[in-house]
């Protein structure tokens, strides 16, 4: 009795091949687009998609000669992976507005982007929104511009006003000494059961590279008054500022001022901690929605070492606009960008997404005044917006932050290394990474 039926070997071979081809669904659906249409990819954030829908509809009404189709960035591991893959397969759209500057150099290396300073009115358009020295920070390694700085999310510190007042402190900590002093007063056993149940602050403890963009990096920028991590393809953070930041966090952990327990879903909302130092304007709406009635909080700049003068500089999580080199109508794409970043549309962006357009002046302009009257919590962010830095123009940025994250864990969280040693080792690893070009 044959177990495998009557088929011959070849028959089986064919059967399996057929089974495979039938079973394998083809998943890539090529977006068919008419020749004169431009494609625009937005972020997948619902508010931003709504913003895109609105302005694209308006554009298409006014410009039937250059119609635009918009869609969110296709799903993938991360939008960088998706964009890199699209660049490699030359399936990029005409433009995209969800570009994190930290990944930009990789796209340039891949020759995926259009040089924007070739447009004759590039600088005049930019000057209407920001001063030259700010624009200069978005210049790429080759000295040219490939991105339109669009919106920013300055990272700032939230603090619980009531908890501070009850601890006898009337202003948010501005220096490390004040921060540590607040820790001593605020970290305590509230219900007297012998275990600490109130802490000074919460940060994300995972040793993952991008988490350090929201704690180490803003503190480093504040401490160094905006120095880069990498300059001329060499790490330049083996300095006092980085050591001070590592030392501060090591001290905060050593004294137990940072909550380690994972039992509270958001300890700041539950008033178990008094400080959350890694917050951008995007989270204000969520906090406002979820916050229990008695929570009184305010926004303050990132603290600095005692001898560093203000104002605090912080990390501004930028999202910028680019045109891809696959575009057959880069001029039309540029016209659309000009439309997209007009003052009127910047107001829409602000109102719909609560993210700050990179436009000066923001607070003084009467057009935006109404919005900030309704959303006073965003005023500190708007004030901070021009004291921000993005990320350094280096393709290996992720790996450098990973090296910092590793040492941050070893030094600050676990106390295994001195701050000097940890910073030095992170810089050495970064040099190694940058040497492999």
């Amino acid at each position: 009795m044959p177990i495998l039926g009557n088929g011959t070997g070849l028959g089986w071979l064919i059967l399996i091949v057929v089974a495979l081809t039938v079973g394998c669904t083809t998943r890539r659906t090529e977006t068919s687009r008419a020749d004169d249409h431009l494609t625009y990819w937005t972020s997948t954030n619902p508010q931003e998609m709504e913003f895109a829908r609105l302005i694209v509809a308006e554009w298409n009404r006014q410009h039937p000669e250059a119609p635009i189709d918009w869609e969110p960035i296709p799903a993938g591991v991360s939008s960088e992976e998706v964009l890199l893959a699209a660049i490699a397969s030359r399936t990029t759209p005409d433009l995209c507005s969800n570009i994190w500057p930290g990944a930009l150099e990789q796209y340039i290396e891949a020759r995926g982007l259009v040089r924007l300073d070739d447009f004759p009115d590039f600088f005049s358009v930019m000057r209407r929104r920001m001063p030259d020295e700010m624009l200069a920070r978005f210049r790429s390694r080759d000295g040219h511009y490939y991105q339109v700085p669009w919106k920013t999310n300055p990272i700032m510190m939230l603090y619980n006003v009531r908890m501070f007042r009850e601890a006898g402190i009337d202003h948010p900590p501005r220096t490390y000494a004040e921060l540590l002093d607040a820790g001593a007063r605020l970290t305590r056993d509230r219900d007297g059961d012998g275990e600490i149940d109130q802490w000074l602050m919460v940060i994300d403890l995972q040793p993952v590279w991008y988490k350090r963009m929201f704690d180490f990096y803003p503190f480093y920028l504040a401490a160094s008054r905006g120095q880069p991590l990498v300059a001329d393809d060499r790490p330049v953070f083996d300095n006092r500022a980085a050591v001070e930041v590592f030392r501060l966090f090591r001290e905060l952990f050593r004294r137990g001022y940072v909550i380690k327990s994972l039992s509270y879903s958001d300890p700041f909302l539950l008033e178990r901690v008094a400080i959350k130092p890694n917050v951008g304007p995007w989270s204000i709406a969520e906090i406002e929605r979820k916050r229990p009635g008695q929570l009184q909080y305010d926004v303050a700049p990132i603290p600095r070492p005692d001898d560093v003068p203000g104002p605090s500089i912080t990390y501004g999580d930028y999202k910028n606009i680019v045109i891809f080199s696959t575009s057959r109508r880069p001029r039309a794409a540029w016209q659309f960008i000009r439309f997209m970043i007009s003052k009127q549309n910047d107001l829409r962006l602000l109102e719909m997404t609560e993210q700050l357009p990179i436009r000066q002046p923001l607070l003084a302009d009467p057009l935006f005044a109404g919005f900030f009257r309704r959303q006073p919590k965003l005023i500190p962010f708007a004030r901070q917006a021009f004291h921000t830095r993005g990320t350094d123009a280096v393709p290996e940025l992720k790996e450098i932050f990973d090296a910092i994250a590793q040492e941050f864990e070893a030094c600050a969280l676990l106390g295994l290394k001195s701050p000097e040693r940890a910073v030095h080792d992170a810089a050495r690893r970064s040099r190694l990474i940058l040497s492999l070009r």
Binding site: I87, W209, E409, L414, L436
Partner: protein, 297 residues
């Protein structure tokens, strides 16, 4: 006569061609998914490649990076640490259980089946289960400790304990397999050896030491080699339980390779780590073979 010879040759030709035809799928598959990746591994070692853009020749760059990369050596040390705990534990427990099962006991198949169960179950399941057993506040192990008045142990959150904890879990998962191997080994030892020893008045312990152990030498070598290869292939456990932490204390070679390839898109460097890792496995297995065979001789 002449005709039949020609006929024979024709038959042989036909059989030969069928032989080729039957082997053809394997040959093609080997060329595509065996030989090509193997050759390409050598090429990748000398290139930087993020898979999206053209490859870039970097010469000895990856190898220099590897030599100077403390994380590679950390992963290597972690692997030795794992193996150092895992192998002795494995040998002792497996040998003890096999020795007990090799006696005339009721329900032997049932016991064997129970000990073997973790072997067939996915490492993902075992790891998720043990993660709960090891959990700091809610884990069963710490609950048991606090119930008898002992302090909690930070099984997975202390950088000194995390790897030993993983090694204990791996032992629990694999030991049933080695029980079976030892059982096979034990059953192949001729009874007459024990009878002769018993006549000479050798105690049971002495018999075990002088007959059982030496006779099991090939099995022990096998267990050593398989456990070492297992140690060098460690991935699921740190991937799910610790992500390689705390402070890279559970970073394994394969996990590091995975991170280089998929977090940082460094295909060339990841391939270099794979290459280095394969070499380490070769060296260690050869050393073990040498040592154990010399002991036998």
């Amino acid at each position: 006569m002449n005709r039949s010879r020609r006929n024979q040759r024709k038959v042989r030709r036909k059989l030969e061609s069928i032989g080729y035809l039957m082997s053809l799928p394997y040959i093609l598959h080997f060329l595509a998914f065996g030989a090509y990746p193997l050759a390409f591994a050598f090429i990748l070692v000398f290139h930087k490649w993020n898979i999206y853009l053209p490859m870039k020749w970097v010469g000895w760059g990856n190898i220099r990076f590897l030599i100077h990369d403390p994380l590679v050596w950390k992963a290597l040390w972690n692997t030795f640490y794992f193996v150092l705990i895992h192998i002795p534990a494995q040998l002792v427990v497996a040998l003890a259980l096999a020795e007990l099962l090799n006696r005339p006991v009721r329900g032997r198949t049932l016991f064997r089946a129970i000990y073997f169960m973790p072997v067939v179950i996915s490492g993902v399941v075992i790891t998720i289960l043990w993660q709960q057993l090891y959990a700091q506040d809610t884990g069963l192990l710490n609950r048991a400790l606090t119930a008898v008045g002992l302090p909690r142990i930070p099984w997975l959150t202390d950088y000194r304990l995390a790897m030993p904890s993983i090694a204990v879990m791996a032992t629990w998962k694999n030991v049933g397999f080695y029980v079976v191997l030892f059982l096979v080994g034990l059953q192949s030892i001729p009874r007459s050896l024990y009878e002769a020893a018993a006549l000479d008045g050798a105690s049971e312990w002495k018999q075990f030491w002088h007959i059982t152990l030496p006779m099991l030498n090939p099995t022990i070598l096998l267990v050593l080699i398989l456990s070492t290869i297992g140690g060098f292939s460690l991935f699921i456990e740190p991937y799910i339980m610790t992500g390689g932490g705390p402070a890279n204390s559970t970073l394994s070679g394969v996990l590091y390779l995975y991170k280089q390839a998929f977090f940082f898109n460094r295909m060339g460097y990841a391939a270099t780590i794979g290459f280095f890792w394969a070499m380490m496995i070769f060296v260690v297995v050869l050393l073990q073979r040498k040592v154990v065979e010399r002991d036998v001789g």
